[in-house]
Symmetry: C2
């Protein structure tokens, strides 16, 4: 059996709806899990992407896991969020 | 037996370290669970509060739950994050 496919969407400067569409297209193409990831000030936007996705797709998606942590870049700790979204049907 | 005490810290305009101190003081005063909550663009800051708290308190705290959702305010959907932090010892 093939391993479930996962795709990572890195949230940055583009408008929220671009990332929402990217996730929807991923699911449409058969991806099982999409990780919506945002660093620093893009954490808020990553959550916004999830909220808008949920209001569009409703019960057909679910949050599998939410991770908050930080990565060291030079001397700075950059916080991030990883929201793992799964398609139920 | 008394129910475990919970305190909510609403992250807003103050500097990150103010909220970090508020959570530490809560734990010091015997609160068992602290919910770090941030709306809209303060979601990033709420995650930053948790990350700095973790780097200060290390293994003595843990994330109990992370909720991301939205609240309707007028016609707008405002996304938020609720990070429930527990003191282990």
């Amino acid at each position: 059996m093939a391993a479930p496919s996962t795709h990572v969407v890195n949230v940055g400067r583009k408008p929220v709806r671009d990332y929402v569409f990217e996730v929807i297209v991923n699911f449409q193409e058969g991806v099982d899990k999409v990780v919506v990831k945002g660093y620093g000030r893009y954490i808020s936007k990553a959550v916004d992407v999830y909220v808008r996705l949920k209001s569009r797709l409703g019960e057909s998606i679910d949050v599998d896991n939410i991770e908050i942590n930080s990565e060291k870049r030079g001397v700075k700790l950059i916080p991030y969020i990883s929201i793992t979204v799964v398609r139920k049907y």
